[in-house]
Symmetry: C2
Subunit: 119 residues, 2 copies
DNA sequence: ATCGTTGTGAACCAAATGGTTGACAACGCG
DNA sequence: CGCGTTGTCAACCATTTGGTTCACAACGAT
């Protein structure tokens, strides 16, 4: 459903610079210039990064004279968390079940183990 | 520290096909062919996707005759969850604090609001 | 030993990504 | 008004990405 949205969010956070910007925005809004300062790239590059983050719904930009304060939108994080938790839980449950099965049958298995090079 | 690792994980999950593969692997291991079946792409393309997922530590591949069963590794999810939760919490706390401030000063603010076009 | 199945490797291609520079719009201030 | 500041847009470039096809390795089965 939100497949495309989710892709954009993950894509946006796949870049270390963008992730760092998000981290800094978590403690307060900032202007483009302020955001750009720590990095060794042009302001234009940072502007592009912001467009990606905005496209993913991770930040919003308002207007204040020439400034364009950037604001972090925390809600979108829920999208990711939900996705992650869903499948992690499934995988972990399956793991637990496997554990139980292995414990229950303390049986042959190993002797005619069909899995080669499991050594 | 895990900056590069985290980038790879987010990057890996930014692709819908890869995300779907992870979703399916959450309910059990599968061979490359099985994984490829639902998609309208070549087996080679799926093999590439698996290499990306493996590089991110999201899956491991063993050997069973010609088969290469793919197994989901749930632990890596923690990395993401930790990152996300950390900044989401910060952002939400800040939001709550702002709320409190606004509630406390039911004051002017609006009249000499420096933010243009806030309307 | 040969054949079919399963999967990987390599070369190639179009599109997207992240960066650059140059031009310019929007705004406050002298 | 004209100027400096702040930021975006556009064109361009190198690299990466996701896909293809062809070739081949690894293994079971006949």
């Amino acid at each position: 459903m939100t497949a495309d949205e989710l892709s954009k969010v993950f894509q946006a956070l796949a870049d270390p610079t963008r992730r760092d910007m998000v981290a800094r925005l978590a403690s307060g809004d900032a202007s483009v210039g302020e955001l750009a300062a720590p990095y060794d790239v042009s302001v234009q590059a940072v502007s592009k990064h912001l467009k990606v983050l905005e496209g993913a719904g991770l930040v919003t930009r308002s207007r204040e004279a020439q400034r364009r304060p950037v604001h972090l939108e925390a809600e979108v994080f829920d999208l990711m968390t939900k996705w992650i938790e869903r499948y992690r839980r499934a995988a972990e449950e399956r793991f637990a079940r496997l554990d139980a099965v292995l414990a229950a049958e303390a049986k042959p298995i190993a002797e005619d183990n069909p899995i080669g090079e499991s050594a």
